[in-house]
Symmetry: C2
Subunit: 132 residues, 2 copies
DNA sequence: TTCGTAGTTTATAATGATTCTAAATAGGTG
DNA sequence: CACCTATTTAGAATCATTATAAACTACGAA
């Protein structure tokens, strides 16, 4: 398995559950956005054996901490995650409640002129809300 | 009261509770960011009579719908609102969990090159995460 | 290979922000 | 005032997320 080493290198034991979650999250052509609930459904569809919801939460948070997933800052009753961890932005379609990637190159360079004493910029994320 | 007309013009009855919430939200020198819980505390401090939490939720949502408040897109377990309804952006201090305004002029012009068929841009918001 | 231990999974309970409900109250109009 | 509807309210319900603690597992050491 190609994910065993990835997990080991991160100090995460390559358990059966984590490897299966890796398959669902990373063994795809395209990256995608998901909520925990959506991921749970997807896992049920793609995998024979059941994974506890607690494990899905644990694993997603572990992967996020290791930088394999990103949380998307958006106001929703559920937290959205992204398997695209490159620096990029998002459209949010207010009607369909769907996220669409906005590549870094689709947004001109962003220049933050204000500085905060003793703080460094960790990330700059743009959210473009769409209506009909 | 200066808020009676504002409410009437919005089709909202100027009730005692709404007027008191207006005082707390809008009768200040500076704009500010808040969660419902923080607003509830602030109201308790500044007002003699108690306002039900349900009314605070109702009123904040009504004001947001009328454009007197904005929701700030951020990942938190609580929803953040802003009394600054001008087009502006935010720093988010990850350590202190505090929001800081970034005026529009503090961010260069943002050019969204990608277009989505049949959708219009409603807003463009930048979130700059800060670390030490 | 077996052991020991820490890491992990799991079902289930707890938490907590938000929304819902339905009864009481209050604003506005004639 | 009299009526109607909007609003307020306490409390219950919802539901995403986190905590708990017991069972299980990966894996290095013996
Ligand atoms: Mn939220
Ligand atoms: Mn959230
Ligand atoms: Zn994305
Ligand atoms: Zn602001």
């Amino acid at each position: 398995m190609k994910y065993i080493e990835k997990l080991r290198n991160s100090g995460l034991r390559p358990t059966k559950q984590r490897l299966q979650i890796c398959e669902v999250l990373f063994n795809t052509e395209k990256t995608f956005h998901f909520t925990i609930n959506e991921l749970n459904q997807k896992i049920k569809r793609q995998i024979n054996n059941k994974i506890s919801l607690a494990t899905i939460y644990n694993t997603v948070h572990a992967f996020e901490k290791k930088g394999y997933l990103k949380q998307i800052p958006i106001n929703s009753n559920q937290t959205y995650f992204d398997t695209n961890v490159s620096h990029h932005h998002h459209f949010y379609d207010l009607k369909d409640e769907k996220l669409i990637d906005l590549e870094n190159s689709d947004v001109g360079p962003i220049n933050i002129l204000k500085k905060i004493n003793g703080k460094k910029i960790k990330s700059v994320e743009v959210l473009v809300k769409l209506e009909d």
